[in-house]
Amino acid sequence: MRYALLVLAFLAVLAVSLLGFRGATFVKPPIDVFPEWAFPGMKRQPKYKPQAESKFFADGRTDRPLPPGVVASSYGPAGQPLRDDDHLYAGKTATGAWAPGFPAALAIDRTFIKRGQERYVIYCQPCHGALGDGQGITKAYGMGATPTYHDDRLRQMPAGEIYNTITHGKNTMLSYADKLAPDERWAVVAYVRALQRAQQGTPADVPAAQQKELGIK
């Protein structure tokens, strides 16, 4: 009896020393308690999941690139799969010039600008800075000169051209079209305008109620 229990204790210690404890970091793929060969088709069903690997397609990806010229019908706002509003989708007027203002299809209000701010902070602030002065965090790590929004060239720039820059990029800035939907790009443009306006503020812009609080006379 004693020997049997001793052997058992030895086996237990052996198992613990081989298997270790919970929470240790490891590099090899996790052990499968219910392996695929014993339970086929249970955890790994014959279906494709996003960004997964495919053994069927030559390029090895399950996400299929769109054939040239194809527009996904679900892309963009509902009801406009054709994107036939040049102002909204290309930032251009009927004559092909950069549109100076915002598309009529969008309501420019506080919510819209707040949305623009949220998107700006995520996607633009790292380089353009919280104030739009081109002093983002990336500058300290070697990002080249990022223009400030607060000069005449960018203050005069038509909204459509700023929209186009977000869509297609410019110089060293790459396209953000995959990250921002058209209406989100316009929201960012609106917030960029708000940043520009903020830098040109005067004491007269401060509401009377807050003037005293801020010590403005």
């Binding site: 058992l8 929470g23 999941k49 949220e118 990336t138 800035m173």
Partner: protein
């Protein structure tokens, strides 16, 4: 007539029972400890083709999670970024770094970077990222402090119990939407404040996390 069994055999049934009991106990302990995701998955930190540091990008630089995982609010799948996303900065920052050779090659050729998937649920479990992050469940709830990880590792077990714990008590995790990607945030009033405001958000947003099988298994 000599006795067939020695006297010590009288103890044998009890000894066998004891042994089987101890053996069964140890086996149960072993299965519970070693055959659950807390052991099999937690701690998984594979070597990636590019030694990307979340600690540097998300922690030190303060990039929002959504800068790279840009579809997480719109799609059930939280995308691994395109190599163009990397090149947004790395066409100028460390453009010659040998560590980024794989990314540059991918950007030029269009071939995908072979990132190793760490967090995964079985194909019969349907998890939707957008449904969670747009209703105030922070990344940190499932991925832990990714912003402090030099190398990403699987930090939470992702067992069914893990999901259900939160589905049964969402008020312990739900926070205002704008704080979802702020991984270090905790309710300033502590656990009681989280419960109070979490409950309010759960009520306002009418969050009813499914606890039925078909909520996640389809």
């Amino acid at each position: 007539m000599p006795k067939l069994f020695p006297k010590s055999a009288n103890r044998l049934p009890l000894q066998i029972l004891t042994f089987v009991g101890v053996l069964g106990g140890l086996a149960a302990l072993g299965v519970t400890y070693y055959m659950t995701p807390k052991y099999t998955r937690v701690g998984y930190a594979p070597v990636q083709p590019v030694p990307f540091s979340h600690q540097l990008h998300a922690g030190q630089l303060g990039l929002d999670c959504r800068y790279c995982h840009s579809n997480v609010e719109k799609s059930g799948h939280a995308n691994v970024p395109t190599s163009q996303t990397c090149m947004n900065c790395h066409n100028q920052i460390k453009p010659q770094s040998p560590l980024l050779a794989v990314v540059r090659q991918s950007y030029e050729s269009g071939e995908a970077v072979p990132w190793v998937k760490i967090h995964s649920v079985p194909d019969y479990a349907y998890f939707n990222h957008a449904a969670h992050v747009t209703r105030g469940v922070s990344c940190v709830s499932c991925h832990d402090r990714i912003d402090q990880m030099e190398t990403v590792q699987h930090a939470k077990p992702f067992s069914m119990e893990f999901c259900l714990d939160c589905h049964r008590a969402p008020q312990e995790a739900v926070r205002p939407r704008e704080l979802v990607t702020n991984l270090g945030w905790q309710h300033p009033a502590g656990a009681s404040g989280q419960l109070r405001d979490g409950q309010k958000l759960v009520d306002d947003w009418k969050i009813k996390p499914p606890q039925s099988c078909s909520g996640c298994h389809r």
